[in-house]
């Protein structure tokens, strides 16, 4: 006797029989949710949030790649859902043909899709946390560990996963509803076998696509600059729309790949005709998949390129600094003097040479400021007499410290910048300098730049004529006076000494100096005198705590952070750990997602075209021929997005480095070289996955 007596029992049995198809959908959904949940958990974790400066480039990069990953995951799950329903439609069509009404089919179908989507999404969301925990702790164990890297979660990140979960379930229900609404039952039955060829564009499609990518990259990158330069406007969010041609271009390139391929067919028009036709007849799906994979690989490269670019520039800078130790302090602080330092050095068997010391003062300096309009978007420029604080040295002091000859004319000032003249703090628009204690002002004008990397930091440094310096600094209290010190180690330096000295140095400051380099005392006085609250006194200001002197935030932002070459070199990874590991994590997430999409796409090629491979076998195709067809199909899925994604990002990075200052610096060339090596390694990994995918598919198709 039959065990099935009603619709519910039949649906359950059919679902059990369709386990394989459901498993693919479950897997795709699970992966998408796990990736979204892991990414958002890490991105919004306090660990990362306190390290990534709000509104900074690195934070923007992190959010931008998150959006790309999100788009990738949406397309990925929609695709998996499409595959699931293509298979399901045959079953639904038969039941409709045999008289099952929509009302009879709807509860079971909705129950199934809600269950599959819900369970996989919830499991994926939950798995995201252990996933990120395991990867993060693997980083800590194998790569680098620091006090900054203690991982904590802000569970508000679940809101993003929840939204995605609702989207997945909602879209699944919508698709189910669309199928049930169809009146042409034959269409539902045949759905599984219906191909989705794309409209065949001319061979101009690919080259025009590349042109659009290039145009979009230039427009997208140039638009914010144009906002500033032409419209005196801070770039609004919508300005990113100028990147749109990149996506259109990518679509066209992928379309060209699917429809025409990139090899010339003049010599042998029949070569690869079968694999190309297979791709063409599932064109819509294939193009979407290639596009998603390209975006993910590009996102991954964007993240991973950050590491060499950042590291090369920092390490070269450390290596090229003229002194092993360089620091400054406020005159009212009880900082170890030369004798203290030499005593400490002896304990580590070190002696010192080239000891240089000079005094400086902190003054108010005028300059051009960007003043927001009421709309909060546009601004106008205005000269402000007491714009910011500046460290000011006399000619003699500068000569002593740097060994450079300098002659500053009375009534003028020279501004410090780095060798490449890329320092953002250099001031060249001051008309007067102000003593912040006596409020005495000295009329001045810009007389040119001086170049010394160690002085070209966040706070502007100026050099005055000796007499001007003496006149303007008269009456300053010790909290406006300071000292620059530099020296070299006679022989080989010692990290333990540098570390001990660093901690001794930090501990000698009192709370009045526990502030970031962006905290401007001149601005504070100006704002307070105008009856306003200075933003640096609000919660928006980064908090500096001596207890966290090894943290990223402290070493990056403390106003008196010293430059100890060996300390910086050795602790680079540790102090930048969270940022570097976050980008490494983003890279891993993007690559894993991209490879899963590629693998799934190749799997569906094998499943959908099984009968073609069987027919080819019957027509006498040799195993070598079949092998070539499989490799050709999978090759296109892996190769084109990888090449386009990595090359596009490499070129974009090159463009960014060039556009920063209109030239390529030696460190930037070196960074690009390292990025190229990284790209080659990524290529190697993708190739290895491609090989194993081909092997798996050949096994499924029974190709020896």
């Amino acid at each position: 006797m039959s065990q099935i007596r009603n619709m519910t029992q039949m649906e359950r049995k059919l679902q059990r029989a369709d386990r394989k198809q459901s498993r693919l959908y479950l897997f795709c959904n699970f992966m998408a949710l796990m990736i979204i949940s892991a990414y958002s958990a890490l991105m919004l974790s306090p660990t990362v949030q306190k390290v990534f400066p709000k509104g900074g480039d690195s934070a923007k990069q992190m959010y931008m790649i998150f959006v790309m990953t999100l788009v990738g995951c949406v397309v990925f799950t929609v695709y998996a859902l499409g595959l699931f329903f293509r298979h399901k439609s045959g079953q639904l069509g038969i039941l409709m043909a045999l008289g099952a009404s929509r009302k009879r089919l709807a509860p079971g179908l909705y129950r199934e899709v809600v269950f599959l989507s819900g369970v996989s999404a919830i499991a994926g969301t939950a798995a995201g946390f252990p996933f990120v925990w395991v990867i993060w702790h693997a980083f800590r164990l194998l790569l680098v560990d620091s006090s900054d890297m203690v991982l904590t979660f802000d569970f508000r990140c679940l809101f993003i996963s929840l939204l995605f979960l609702l989207l997945v379930v909602g879209f699944a229900c919508l698709t189910a509803w669309r199928y049930l609404k169809k009146t042409n039952i034959m269409e539902v039955i045949r759905e599984e076998h219906i191909n989705e060829p794309v409209k065949e564009p001319g061979r101009w499609c690919g080259p025009v696509g590349f042109l659009l990518i290039l145009t979009g990259a230039v427009l997208g990158y140039g638009a914010p600059w144009a906002c500033h330069a032409w419209f005196y406007m801070f770039p609004p969010v919508w300005v990113s729309i100028f990147y749109a041609p990149v996506f259109v271009g990518l679509y066209m390139v992928m379309l060209h790949t699917v429809v025409h391929g990139w090899k010339s067919r003049r010599k042998n028009p029949y070569k690869n005709i079968i694999s190309r036709s297979m791709m063409k007849f599932q064109g819509k799906q294939t193009v979407n998949n290639l596009l998603v994979v390209t975006l993910l690989i590009a996102g991954g490269c964007f993240a991973i390129f950050y590491l060499p670019t950042n590291a090369v520039s920092a390490l070269v800078h450390y290596a090229s600094q003229p002194y092993d130790y360089f620091y400054q302090y406020q005159a009212d602080q009880n900082v170890p003097d030369r004798e203290d330092v030499e005593t400490l050095g002896k304990g580590y068997g070190l002696s010192f040479k080239d000891w240089k010391e000079c005094s400086c003062v902190t003054l108010g300096i005028g300059g051009i400021n960007e003043i927001y309009e009421e709309d909060g978007l546009r601004y106008h420029v205005e000269y402000v007499p007491m714009l910011q604080e500046a460290r000011v040295l006399s000619e003699d002091a500068y000569r002593t410290l740097t060994g450079q000859e300098v002659d500053v004319k009375p009534g003028t000032y020279m501004s410090l910048t780095n060798r490449e003249e890329t320092s953002l703090s250099a001031n060249n628009s001051a008309r007067e300098i102000t003593n912040m204690v006596t409020r005495k002002q000295l009329a001045t004008e810009f007389a040119g730049f001086l170049h010394y990397d160690l002085l070209a930091k966040e706070i502007p440094v100026c050099v005055l004529d000796n007499e001007d310096y003496a006149a303007i600094s008269e009456g300053l209290t010790d909290d406006w006076r300071g000292q620059f010190v530099s020296f070299n180690v006679d022989g080989e330096d010692s990290y333990p000494f540098a570390n001990a000295f660093y901690h001794l140095f930090v501990s000698s400051f009192d709370e009045s100096c526990a502030r970031g380099s962006y905290y401007d005392r001149v601005q504070k006085i100006r704002e307070n005198e105008a009856g306003k609250e200075y933003w640096g006194d609000t919660d928006d200001m980064t908090t500096i705590s001596y207890e966290l002197s090894d943290s990223f935030v402290f070493r990056q932002f403390w106003v008196y952070q010293p430059d100890f070459r060996i300390l910086n070199q050795n602790d680079y990874m540790r102090s930048m750990a969270v940022m570097l590991m976050m980008f490494l994590f983003i890279f891993l997430v993007c690559m894993i997602t991209a490879l899963v999409v590629c693998y799934t796409r190749c799997q569906s090629i094998a499943l959908n075209n099984r009968y073609i491979f069987d027919d080819l076998k019957k027509l006498g195709a040799s195993p070598a021929f079949l092998d070539r067809e499989v490799r050709s199909q999978c090759g296109n899925v892996f190769r084109v997005p990888s090449l386009v994604g990595t090359s596009a990002m490499f070129l974009l990075y090159s463009m960014i480095l060039y556009a920063n200052d209109g030239r390529m610096l030696p460190t930037e060339w070196m960074s690009l070289g390292v990025c190229l090596c990284v790209t080659a390694m990524i290529g190697g990994v993708i190739y290895a996955v491609y090989r194993s995918t081909v092997k798996a598919i050949k096994g499924q198709l029974g190709i020896v």
Binding site: S2, N6, L14, M96, A100, S101, M186
Partner: protein
Amino acid sequence: MLYVKELYKSYEAGKNRYEVLKGIDFHVAQGEFVAVMGPSGSGKTTLLNCISCYIPFDKGNIRLGGMELAGMNEEELARVRNTKIGFVFQDFMLLDGLTIRENVLVPRIVQEEVPAEAEKLADQLASMFGIGHILNKYPAEISGGEKQRAAVARSLINNPLIILADEPTGNLDSKSSRAVIETFINAKQKMHATIFMVTHDSFAASFCDRVILLKDGTIYRQLEKAQERGAFQDQLLDEIKKMGQED
């Protein structure tokens, strides 16, 4: 039993519109076994799909057992498909995840809780069509002929007014084709079933009481079987040949 009057159906492909059925008129009487033949593109399957309510038609009337199909809502059409029509498809359309017995019972399952007498009927149909021994097997485990006989049994489980068969022998070898046709004859003789079959196969059509020849969306000729099967097949082949020569 089945009246088709002035039936029109067209398809749109891009900007082009193709008239497939151009005013078809015919009727099928209770207990009659009727075949529709014609060259590819003549509209045979479209005609069957319109009668089955699988695809909407442009204009005309289809009356089945006194019911007018045009104007029925989805729920009513589903009820007609379930209780008044039995279907046999060229590619069997069995559900791979169910046993043959369960497949035969699907039209009852989608209707209500399966009563014991329906299971009994399934067993009777299975033994009548020679598939009793495979009732607990799955479609993947049986031959094409057996699958089609199971499909015929499924089409009869609700004791419909008419069985609509679309190329039921199209995917079968000659031995299996014969077995399937015999199944139809059995159903006609023992259950007084009315059968309307679309086919390319003159051998299969020669078992029918009447054959409608379609050409370019219109009825070219209707042939009544007034002689023994072999001669009727020859007559069919002659008419098909003539139809081709008239182009």
